[in-house]
Assembly symmetry: C2
Homo-oligomer: 396 residues x 2
């Protein structure tokens, strides 16, 4: 009987594994099944744009069957509920059970709340197509409500918790969107407040300080107020309370302050740190040689710094590629290949025409960085779906 490969999650890691497997494996060499909650993949790294309303959410959606050949890979629309690594099976929420010989876990992240009270209830998250549509509509609804209750200035305040990569990219987009929104709703733009609140001693922890300063200057000019080194103590229906005791009233709170691995992994008995499994050199869960873990659910230590790599799309994609190669080897009886991330660069967008980051070891800024950001985004489309997908979804 053919070996059964089950891939959980059609994020960057899962999709890359699936598309590579469909190229590398011959017909009937293995039975590959991809399981995903939606029938589309989404471009997580773009989601700050539809959240702010500067890009249509549909632009970030890719129909799975437009890049997966369903003659070679079974697609199951379903949500994983639990993994039983001993029985080698996965249970879906609809009651279905899938058995596997090899499992690839690319289930993505859950928000990390750091125990902040009220965060789950009152803060929105940049997590999925549905969650960013909600953010966009929430902000617009607040602006519309303000026009009906003009004494409620707080409706025009947006708090973004976390000034990491996503938080910074999001406030950059907000800076572009607000003038447009104010025009649409006849609102004086000076009444709108955007707060970027970060507990760490710097915005964009881990970034070169020169780049951080560049980013903050650009964003402050776009109307963003930073509160760095300022933990949020509590979220409530009216806004947030900071650790300093200061209260900021706001109609919208968006939390970008961090993620942990999907709870399913931890709940299925894998040993985790913040929901992540410290995988071996071949991306396998310790003690489970047939379970590969990718992306947000995997913990990999950067030996140079002795700290974990941040879970990025770039690394997840590389993991998917290695994982597909190793699965092919396992089926054909070849050697396994070690995974080593190769960080080509990191570019953070700061809104239209503005970005900053590092490519190779070179710092880049402004329009150069903005063009590079688009090159990175478009390169992924090409890797995933070739020229066809690039033409359909590319950013110009």
């Amino acid at each position: 009987m053919n070996k059964r490969i089950v891939i959980l999650g059609a994020g960057y890691g899962g999709m890359m594994t699936a598309t590579r497997l469909q190229k590398m494996l011959n017909y009937n060499e293995a039975e590959v099944t991809l399981v995903n909650k939606h029938d589309y993949h989404y471009l997580t790294t773009w989601l700050h744009e539809p959240a702010a309303g500067t890009l249509d959410a549909e632009r970030c959606q890719i129909e799975i069957e437009s890049v997966i050949d369903t003659n070679r890979i079974n697609f199951v629309k379903g949500t994983a509920e639990s993994i039983d690594p001993n029985a080698k099976s996965v249970k879906l929420t609809d009651g279905q059970t899938l058995e596997y010989d090899y499992l690839v876990v690319g289930l993505g992240a859950d928000p990390e709340t750091f125990g902040i009270q009220g965060l789950k209830e009152y803060a929105l998250g940049i997590r999925s197509i549905n969650s960013v549509r909600l953010i966009k509509e929430h902000i617009e609804y607040m602006f519309a409500k303000y026009r009906s209750e003009p004494d409620k200035l707080e409706y025009l305040t947006i708090i973004v918790g976390g000034a990491g990569f996503t938080g910074i990219e999001f406030v950059g987009e907000l800076g572009d969107r607000i003038p447009e929104l104010c025009n649409q709703f006849d609102i004086d733009p000076s009444l709108v407040k955007i707060y970027s609140i970060e507990a760490a001693p710097t915005a964009l922890p881990g970034f070169d300080p020169e780049l951080v300063e560049y980013a903050m200057n650009i964003l402050e000019r776009k109307g963003v107020t930073f509160k760095i080194n300022t933990p949020i103590k509590e979220c409530n229906p009216d806004g947030v309370i900071l650790a300093t005791g200061e209260e900021i009233k706001a109609g919208t709170i968006v939390w970008t302050g961090g993620v942990r691995g999907n709870a399913i992994v931890e709940n299925s008995g894998f040993e985790t740190m913040r929901g992540r499994v410290k995988v071996d050199d071949f991306l396998r869960a310790p003690g489970h040689d047939n379970v590969f873990i990718l992306g947000d659910c995997a913990l990999i230590i950067n030996e140079e710094t002795n700290r974990p790599y941040p879970p990025t799309a770039q690394i997840a994609m590389q993991q998917g590629q290695t994982c597909a190669e190793n699965l092919t080897s396992l089926i054909r009886g070849g050697e396994l290949k070690k995974f080593t991330p190769e960080i080509k660069g990191t570019v953070a967008s700061l809104g239209k025409g503005e970005a900053m980051g590092i490519v190779g070891s070179k710092k880049i800024y402004g329009s150069t960085a903005s063009v590079m950001k688009k090159v990175i985004d478009n390169r992924y489309l090409y890797l995933l779906g070739g020229m066809g997908l690039l033409l359909k979804k590319s950013k110009l």
Copy 2:
């Protein structure tokens, strides 16, 4: 000293009075002041469209200074608080007092709640640019929320209280918008419910029964569920409770069930019925020969039926015209002219390409009626602002 004419409100009546006066009066023949809350006039009869999201709200806005010659008419952006007919003065909410020799009251309507509990708190209204923007954003927000909480089907239910003219036109637009919204939010259209609820024994009370049936058939095909002869007893955060005891859960409640005259008129000591002043043949408030009352604040009896005319834009415009002529006569010492409404026709839109109504004494339906509706809308633009305004705002 020149006579001072103050016009309160830039609705259909006030705007028509002002634009006619600016044509009829010579320079410095009178001092005319137009007072309005916003610096724009809006096309109240179009508001069901932006409320549903089928037309941009801006399309219904006309900058007052684009049709009023401010060399001839003073424009004051302000909100009337009270009228003192004995002192012949008007107080604005900003503390300003305006004295007049002649006053024109065109302050529009307040919603009539018929004592329904919770209506003010939980139902939205089709009243103004700001209120319809809120309805549009509210509906979209509910659709976005549903995607995050897919067990809350009630988020996809819209209750429209009142199946009069506005309620019917609004559900017609909703019928067009829902498929588009469902597409945008990836929602199965069959999950969306639109209820049109009317206390009277028929939808569109006062309309020809054949036309009512035509309208209901069209709207039912667009997915509208009618509950006629069914008063609403209570609105609450979850939906409505009907007089029958039936509860309908809904994310959105819009009340179109009737209006009364602006409370300022009643509170200023004028004798009113449902907020309306029963004006004399010359549109004057009884006992105040220098106060003219137009539009929603005026009550005029149709002698044929012995019932009040419904307060329509058509009548308000005709009143504005007569009022301007009479004010000119008063200033020049001429005769006053009696006001008699001349009902040219009434056409209710039922969404894109569909309408029905009466023109002259002829019933019209379908695309003929839909074209006629646009002719009526465009004719007003021409009357108000000539060819320039028609070109800028006309419906094609």
